[in-house]
Symmetry: none
Subunit: 179 residues, 2 copies
């Protein structure tokens, strides 16, 4: 019976993110195939013909957009979600034109990802709690991400985020942030 569960391919060069996402998807009863490189991704796609895929755009500098077509060729019925930490309207338009099913900016939770991929693959009876992240939570995640990219440098992070250092400081200290 588990073989009837939909398969999903996760392509992301960040092992941590990759793993977390894979886990979360498995908990939703999906059969997950994870790849960290384009070749790996193509191999898995050919082999398993997943019906869904999550594609990160920055695979070590390689544009994930370039993977889009090969991936679709390898697994023609696969709905591909492009996910990126450096989202922009331009790449979104490109991605969709190239055949991506959807496009999301990166601080995104599993529910949003599945929602963006269309249809909840689990049992139809559990729909109600598909709550999107609150703005606060989203902001928090984003800040943390940029902060770590900036090696914890608060000033640099503030600049990158175009927000005042004072404000960032205040946000950082005030929020243990729950939800």
């Amino acid at each position: 019976m588990p073989d009837r569960n939909p398969q999903i391919l996760v392509v992301d060069d960040d092992p941590v993110f990759n793993r977390i996402l894979a886990r979360a998807l498995e908990q939703r009863n999906l059969r997950v195939h994870a790849a960290q490189t384009p070749d790996e991704a193509l191999g898995l796609a050919k082999q398993f013909q997943p019906e869904m895929a999550v594609l990160d755009l920055n695979l070590n500098g390689q544009s994930g957009l370039a993977l889009l077509k090969p991936l679709m060729d390898a697994s023609p019925y696969c709905r591909i979600l492009v996910l990126t930490g450096y989202a922009s309207i331009a790449t979104a338009v490109e991605a969709v034109k190239l055949g991506a099913h959807n496009y999301l900016a990166k601080p995104a939770d599993v529910d949003s990802i599945l929602l963006a991929l269309g249809r909840y693959p689990t049992v139809p009876d559990e729909q109600p709690p598909a709550q999107p992240m609150s703005v606060e939570r989203l902001e928090w995640e984003h800040i943390q991400r940029v902060l770590s990219e900036q090696q914890g440098n608060v000033s640099a992070t503030a600049r990158a985020l175009k927000m005042h250092r004072r404000t960032l400081q205040r946000k950082l200290q005030k929020r243990p942030v729950k939800e």
Copy 2:
């Protein structure tokens, strides 16, 4: 001979912008048809079968997205550029999925517009813009996404986002937000 010039349909409810854009396009030797309402637009499209169109998204209240399909039906070989002052990834993705040829944020000059309407895909020129979104921008995108998930229902969106409806309203109208 002028009949050999390509025709372009301009749809925008703002008479000023409409006129300015029309003029600029005429100066590029295009035959311009301008419309300020959906009906007008459809009429002109049927009548002239333009090969290009510029469609503004907020036709005072009416979503321009709703016009996309009828417009394509009316003039099947028309390449449609969606142009909006309230650009977001969510609407961009929708527009392209609905068949728009391209999508631009509104402070856009004529050259960009014509380039975007070009027959060939715009260059995937995205090595440099590897910069994280500002918090503001991210918030905007997130709001737009949830809003579209909620079919444009502001109250429902506010609830889903756990933010006050009043605040959401204010954010929605205040932001053209560029980046």
